[in-house]
Amino acid sequence: MSSDPAIQFRHVTKEYHVENAVLGGLKNLVLHLPTQIRAMRARKPFCALQDLSLEIAQGESLSVIGRNGAGKSTLLGLIAGVLRPSAGTVVTRGRICPLLELGAGFHADLTGRENIVLNGILLGLTRREVLARLDEIIDFSGLAQFVDRPLRTYSSGMTARLGFSVAVHLSPNILLVDEALAVGDLEFQQKCLARMQQFRSDAVTMVFVSHDMESVARVSDRVAWMDGGRLREIGPPQQVIEHYHAFVHPTVAAA
């Protein structure tokens, strides 16, 4: 295995252009053309990540914490390659499995089994590879008796199970997890954490966004605390989590 980092952020800035004017529709645009254009010109882009530099080694597992809107999902989106940076470069090495959103790409009218095949291929497996792993995936999800029913009959927790089961069978080099596990029941959450531990020993690089500090402490080598689009602190889990707690509950820490 090479010593190149699996993920590298080089002075990455990400700005969002929020164009309410445009989302108001063509009709609005045409009817109020001058005001709309002025509004578009005047609007400043919103900076969600600011000059962020970061290296994640191969096989490292990094957790990202921080309050809502800190830029965690933006960070993952840039790694997954679905977002483009406004400045700077994100370099990744290896097959990425993004678990950015629950049951993304699932279709409610298809059965669980059909969704597994669809999702597996969407996430980068060939049809043959998916079919070879189908039984294993169903087994891991623990949904064997529901797997031939349409997905719209599933609860959100069951959908999450199915999504995670597909994702962990992709043999990724880089696994991205964004607050996806919170909805599963306790048993499944434990199973997922166990699986992530195994990924760790298999030297899969992981970036894990979570608000559950207990699991963060369990699965990560390092923790990054983000605030307002910047890295506030990055370091050993215990230390960063402690500082984060002290920041969020100043009174509790003082007491």
């Binding site: 252009h17 989302l23 097959r95 993304a104 790409g105 095949v117 980068g124």
Partner: protein, 279 residues
């Protein structure tokens, strides 16, 4: 799969990647083949619940239209065009291919927002899958048209061997470009869907689908040049009804197909990097 060596640089749009242009690898080709297959199959399953009867339903729509216009023009208005029902379905099936593509294109990206936000892949695949699906519809309608031809004592000629594939390719290119354009723009202007429905409705009567183009008054003939769909529909009517494809309209149709493809692809290329932010 040897993915460890897979190095990806995510740079700002417009910046040239150090890696430069690369031919797709064999793995990528297999990936996109499987992806297209699974997307088309999904459409089939979701829309028709996997039944062949479901596909038959989609043929009913143009046929019902044909019946309405036949009754209206032939029986009520006493229009004296020979084999008018053949004329009608020869134009209506291609037209429905176009208009169905436009309608479904509105949701090709919007309806797959969760995928676009999550997975990195060529997003045009979604449009391609939807256009392919409409192509399959059209293909199964051809036997019906031929059935009508035989009923009127007309038969496919040798020239079908080249004209049929040529027209299918032209129409495919045109609908793909158009669908790419509409799917993209609809992400940014969500009311395009309503607008495109209205425009397609108007174009249906502008395009000589239910009347022969000779009936157009001479000072309205320019419409045949300005309406991107008119030359193509005239070619299909030539093939199915008149017995020969008009060369000048075929050339015009090819030109329109090229224009649609170029415009659609350029607009898509310019905006694709923002899809995940806006869906």
């Amino acid at each position: 799969m040897d993915a460890c060596s897979q190095l990806i640089e995510n740079t700002p749009p417009g910046a040239r990647s150090a890696a430069g242009w690369q031919w797709p690898s064999r793995e990528q080709l297999i990936y996109y083949r499987d992806l297209l297959a699974v997307l088309v199959a999904k459409e089939f399953k979701v829309r028709y619940k996997s039944t062949v009867i479901g596909y038959a339903w989609s043929l009913m729509h143009p046929l019902a239209f044909a019946l309405v216009f036949f009754v209206l023009f032939k029986i009520v208005m006493r229009f004296d065009l020979p084999a008018y029902s053949l004329f009608l379905i020869g134009g209506l099936f291609p037209w429905h291919w176009i208009s169905n593509t436009v309608t479904s294109a509105n949701f090709a990206f919007l309806g797959n927002s969760s995928l676009i936000k999550k997975v990195r892949f060529h997003r045009a695949t979604l449009v391609l899958a939807s256009v392919l699906n409409e192509l399959v519809h059209f293909a199964i309608s051809i036997p019906i048209v031929v059935g009508f031809m035989i009923y009127y004592g007309r038969y496919p000629t040798v020239s079908w061997f080249w004209w049929l594939p040529a027209l299918v390719v032209m129409q495919f290119a045109m609908t793909f470009g158009l669908a790419l354009l509409i799917a993209t723009v609809n992400l940014f202007f969500r009311d395009l869907e309503r607008l495109s429905t209205i425009i397609m409705h108007l174009l249906f009567y502008v395009t000589p689908v239910i009347y022969p183009y000779e009936k157009l008054p001479p000072n309205f003939r320019w419409v045949l040049m300005a309406d991107p769909f008119a030359p193509l529909v005239l070619c299909w009517q030539g093939l199915f009804y008149r017995g020969s494809v008009p060369g000048e309209f075929a050339a015009l149709a090819a030109l329109w197909a090229l224009v649609c493809c170029l415009v659609g692809y350029r607009v898509y290329q310019a905006l694709v990097w923002r899809f995940a932010e806006i869906v």
